[in-house]
Every structure is written in structure tokens, then in C-alpha cells.
Assembly symmetry: C2
Homo-oligomer: 393 residues x 2
């Protein structure tokens, strides 16, 4: 038979990262390509303990169908965390548990994006968001990122001309660039979008992973009516359980519930209860310190190696948190060419192009430091430096 597919399926980029991860399954390759948290930091014993507690004390609640919104005590924990961390008052009634941020992005796309809807997104932008939104066939309007956040004049112009449904951004330790919005830029984004009909989708997947400097306010506090926050347990506990959340104003929340119910009824309750039990019975702060300390060491090691081994013409960001940094080759040098050379030297990264919705990024690359030990980081960066030198000539 001739299979017929919906038009949207023709518009979705195949995940370049997924293809790359296939190449890098070769264990002899040092990979900076993925976006994996460091599994040595998973709180395995505490999760096991929590699983036993849940399946001993609340098995029926963990295993039966339940409410679309998610496990209330877990939503209460998230609500309290916003209060404590950011002084934000977000009631549990406005928090929906999802299967990780990727599903949050899909649900946002589902309720907000029609074919050709204008959508503003950072340039470079998070690939998972580009993929999720693409299936709803928007018109992307990229907003250039500077070292301290979005190009405000560009964002203003896009909002004025196109009135996008949403502006999607990652203010803390952005994926892929590693940059963080400054205090001033946060305020500017907030004030500019307030009073418009554009929602700011604030993806805060890495917000708890600051290992240098002080926390900055969430952009949300400058535009509470226009703000949706996405959060995730993937980077602070473990990603395999696929658990994240959306915090949204009431009217939007109700649409999200309809979309979530049609998408999969509700998120995995066993894992919701396990995560809540873990949070209730363990010191999350000391666990977060472990992660931050480790990522700071890994990041410092990578930056130091880059300073030593990369040609001087190559520039790169120096993140204050998160899992990624971003390097830029001299004009005219292609990161895809570099990738091919690097793979022969058994080292991998993600070329910049897939992070651009307008075809740019051909001289840039994303490097992940959270899932490699210091020796591999040094050796991998050394090889990558060699590859760069031979390409730049």
C-alpha cells in the first residue's frame, strides 16, 4: 500500500543529534556530543529506598490511573521550591507534571501553535524545542543571542512586526550556547513582553545547576501574566524517569490539561511518587552541591584545555552553570568539516547548524562537559584542537 502521512511530518528535521549519537556509540570515541547528566551522580541508593517506601506504603496510588494534573504533594514541593529559590508565588494548582521538558514543549506547541503561527526563538536555539514546535508548522523568527542574553532590539522588532504567539528562551546556562541572561536583560525581556500578547516560555531546565556567581531572578517575575516556566527533574535527579513540569497561568493551564489528557492521560505515577518520596526524605541541597561541584570541575577542566589546545582564533563561552559550552571557528571554517575530521580522531561534538532555524551556525559547535571525566576531557580537547589547526591551516 502507499502510506500517507500528515503534512507536518515532511517539515520535521530529522534529529541531527540523534544521528550523531549513533556514530558516537562507538565506545572508543570521546564524546562531547550528547547532553547526558553525569550518571555517577545519580542518587541510586536514595531512589531505591524511595521506590521501596512507595511500593510498601502506597502501592495502589502509585500503580492505578490517576489525575491528569499530577501527584499533588509533588506539585506542592515544586511550588514551595519556587517560593524558596526565587520568591515566586506559584500555587500547585498552576503546576502540571509532564514527561520531562520535551513533553512540556510538545504541549505548548499543541495548544499555542497553528500552521504558520509566528514563534520567536533564540539563535542558536534549543534543538528539542525546534523539533517539538516544528511539528506544529510555525514560522520561526530567530532572536540573536549575545553573551548577556537576547538581542533586545531584534526581539522588539519581531514582537512589533509579527506579534508571535510565544518567545521561547533558556535564560540560565542556555542550551546550546551556555550563556546566561544578565539581570538587566531579564528585566528588559520582561518589561518588553508585558502588555503584549506574546507568551515567554522560560525553559529553566538548568537553573539549579549554577556553579559560579549568584542566582538571578527568573524572568517570570517581570511578566507573571505572560510567563510560562518549564522545569525538570532530569538534571537534578535523573532523566530516565522522564519527569518535568509546566507552571502556567490559569487560562493556559486548563488548555494544557486538555492537551495532556489527550496526549497520555497523565504522567507515570510510580515515578512521581518515587521522586516525591526522594525529595521528602533526602537533603536535595547537599545533592545539588555534589552535582554543581562536579560540573564546575568538569567545566573548568574543559575551559583550561581549550585555552591550551585550541587555536587562538577560536572563541568560546565560559558558562556559569549547566552542561554545555559553545565554540566558534573563524569565518568560513565549517564545523561539519571539523566534525568529520574529529570523528577520525575519535572525538565528537555537535556542529552548530541544527540549532539555527534560519540556516546559520555553520562555524559553531556545542560541547558537553557533564558526561566526561577530566582525563577524557583533556585528551578529547587536545585532539579537537589538532583537528582545528589542521583545518584552519
Amino acid at each position: 500500500m502507499a502510506y500517507r502521512f500528515a503534512a507536518r511530518m515532511g517539515k520535521t528535521p530529522r534529529s541531527f543529534i540523534r544521528e550523531i549519537l549513533r556514530v558516537t556509540k562507538d565506545r572508543s570515541i570521546i564524546s562531547f556530543a550528547g547532553g547526558l547528566p553525569n550518571p555517577a551522580l545519580f542518587p541510586v541508593d536514595a531512589i531505591k529506598e524511595a521506590a521501596i517506601d512507595v511500593l510498601t506504603e502506597k502501592p495502589t496510588e502509585a500503580l492505578q490511573y490517576s489525575t491528569t494534573e499530577g501527584y499533588l504533594p509533588l506539585r506542592e514541593w515544586i511550588s514551595e521550591r519556587y517560593q524558596k529559590r526565587a520568591g515566586l508565588s506559584i500555587p500547585p494548582e498552576n503546576i502540571l507534571i509532564t514527561n520531562g521538558s520535551q513533553q512540556s514543549l510538545d504541549l505548548i506547541g499543541k495548544i499555542c501553535i497553528d500552521k504558520k503561527s509566528p514563534v520567536a526563538i533564540e539563535k542558536p536555539g534549543y534543538l528539542g524545542a525546534i523539533q517539538a514546535f516544528s511539528l506544529y508548522e510555525p514560522q520561526f523568527h530567530p532572536v540573536g543571542l549575545e553573551l548577556d542574553g537576547p538581542d533586545i532590539a531584534c526581539l522588539e522588532e519581531i514582537v512589533r512586526r509579527y506579534s508571535p504567539q510565544i518567545f521561547y528562551g533558556v535564560p540560565n546556562f542556555q542550551n546550546p550556547s551556555g550563556i546566561t541572561y544578565s539581570d538587566e536583560k531579564r528585566r528588559e525581556v520582561g518589561e518588553m513582553l508585558s502588555g503584549t500578547d506574546t507568551l515567554f516560555i522560560e525553559d529553566d531546565a538548568y537553573g539549579e545547576l549554577r556553579f559560579r556567581g549568584d542566582d538571578l531572578p527568573l524572568v517570570h517575575q517581570f511578566l507573571p501574566e505572560n510567563g510560562i516556566i518549564l522545569g525538570s527533574f532530569s538534571k537534578i535527579i535523573a532523566p530516565g524517569m522522564r519527569m518535568g513540569w509546566i507552571a502556567a497561568p490559569q487560562e493556559i493551564y486548563e488548555k494544557l490539561i486538555t492537551a495532556k489528557q489527550a496526549s497520555d492521560l497523565h504522567s507515570n505515577y510510580l515515578s512521581q511518587l518515587i521522586i516525591h518520596q526522594f525529595l521528602a526524605s533526602h537533603d536535595i541541597e547537599s545533592h545539588l552541591r555534589l552535582i554543581r561541584d562536579s560540573y564546575r570541575r568538569q567545566r573548568d577542566c574543559m575551559v583550561k584545555a581549550m585555552e591550551e589546545f585550541f587555536p587562538q582564533e577560536v572563541t568560546f563561552t565560559r558558562p556559569d552553570g549547566g552542561m554545555f559550552l559553545w565554540a566558534t571557528l573563524p569565518d568560513g571554517i565549517s564545523s561539519i568539516d571539523l566534525f568529520e575530521l574529529a570523528i577520525r580522531k575519535k572525538v565528537a561534538f555537535v556542529p552548530g547548524n541544527p540549532f539555527y532555524t534560519d540556516g546559520g551556525g555553520s562555524s559553531s559547535l556545542r560541547l558537553n562537559y557533564s558526561n566526561a571525566d577530566p582525563d577524557s576531557i583533556i585528551e578529547g580537547i587536545r585532539r579537537l584542537g589538532e583537528a582545528m589547526k589542521s583545518l584552519i591551516g
Copy 2:
């Protein structure tokens, strides 16, 4: 601000069942409204044991990001089960693990349905499918159900006139009607769709729950090229982990992977490993026998009570498996009126109308027997019979 939503959000029916379940949270109500498996049959100790094993032996695999397709040993188990149960050869490479059948339906909608795409669906049809597909804005073409399966002439006419992208059906112990396609109807559906460009989406969520008579072949064997099968662990292990699967031909499978990845990267790995560990170390057959025996007793109890307490003019199905049966009031008597009367007598069910994509079903109702004990079944049916009598007069 003025919130703007995608056009599809205006077309989604609010879940009537969800509203009803809210009403029936009142513990004093005897509810036949939900679709919950009997939690007394959840294999709690075995799941706890499996969880401990997984978190002791494979914690990193269970907790790290992983492949979109799902855990290979679990897909192998499913593949072998098809071989054993139905003599079907479906390789693990064609099986995708999803967050339960509801997500399978959403993914099918995402890859197959454009705005106004023709979609054939049973009448009455499964509400979860109506909800999931509605978000992709199809044109529904209902195919009447008879006691032995779909009205073949009607299906043939729809296929000839509209060439629908898909025909969605539940051949075993259909939700909501409880009917099962006969051997002959299975063959007829298969032969009629073979050679057309219409896919048959065979939702087999209840297939393992036959408590009377012999298993019939899956429709799939009569149209392997046109067939997609949906399966679920919700009814045979527990629904709270949200775990199901799709078996699809290669070309469709690849689109499903793209859609699944954009939707949530992959399903919960901890739960996939727990379910596989449970299946690998326990006798699923003896567990299934427990469920079937219990549901047979519950169904027999309900049918007997209906024969005793319902007015003679009320007809109803007598299912050979699954969790639901379907009653029809005399013409002109409304099941919504009955619902209101019944709630006052503290008994609940789902009126038939939401199961119809063309506005019918106003004299019918769905009754669930899997989640009520015999005493409640008898008392609830007695009260419902009283309500019927006072309504019919």
C-alpha cells in the same frame, strides 16, 4: 493579556468522563463510570521485587536518557508474546514503547491526520481515541457496530467514498460496547482494507482479558501491510506506570520514532525495566488467570443483576472479556436524564453520547464492572434499575 490558542483547541471535546469522574469522587457513590482495572489484582510484591532488582543491578540504564524506541528486552518480550499468542511474526525492530495506549493514539494522530483528513471510527467509539484524534482536526466517519463487529457495508462505502487515512477499531471486548468482532468479520475487515490505502489501527488493549470462549486471530494477520497494533500493560499489570506499545510496518515506524522523539524523547526507562524484570521473573499466565477469573465473576454478577433488576425493554451486551458492557434504553429515553436520576440514588455510569462522533447514543450507557465488588455491583444495578423504571414509567 489576551491569550491566543491554536485553532485545534477549540475542537477538542472536554472529557465528559473526566467531569463524571469528578462527580463520582464522592465515596458514597457506587461508580460503574470509570475504566479502572481492579487494584486488588495489581502484583504489588512482584513489582516491588522487580524494582529492587532493577535499581540494584542496572541503576544507570534505568535512570539515564536512552533510546526513543524503548528497552530492547521488553520489545523482545512483546514480539515473542505475539508469536506465542497469535502466531504473528512482529520483530522487536517494529515495536515502539509508548506512555500507554493514549500516547499511541496521539502519535498515530500526529503522523497520519491532517486537518479534515477522513478518519473512520467505530460507533460507538473509544473516547480516548476520539479525544486524541480530535486535536488533529479530522473528519470522522463513524462505522456502526453490530453485535459481531463493524457494519461491513458501511465501512466499505466509507472506504470507497472517502479513502480514510485510518480505520480505528477495538476488535476484542470493545470499549465502550463490550462486543467482539467475529472470526468472519475479522477476515472481512482485513480483506476489504488490504490493497486500499487505509490503515487499520487495531487497539488490542483488552485482548489478554478473554474470560469466555476461545481467542480469535488478530485482524492484523489478514492485512499485515495495512495493520498497526496497539498494546498496553495497563490492563495486565498496572496503569499507573503508563506503559504501552505500537507495532507498525517499517515506513510508519520511522515516522512514529520522529514523532515520539519530538513528543518526549522516550518512555520512562525505570518503569520499562521494572516491567521487563517482572515479566522475566514471574509467571504472567497465572497472573492473567487471576485477572480473567475475577473479571468473569464481576461480569457474571453484573449481568445477573441486570437480568433481575433492569426493565425488560432495556437491552445490553454480554461481553466475553474486557471491562465494560453497554446497555440501551427504549427509544426516546435519555441516558443523560437517567444519569441525573442515578446520581441522586448514588450510582454512576457514562451516558452514551460522548462515544458518538455524530451526536447519537443518547439512549445508551456504558457500565464498567472491573472495579466494583459483587455486593456493590448488585446494589448499584438494583438502584439503577429503579431509576430506569421511574424514568420509563
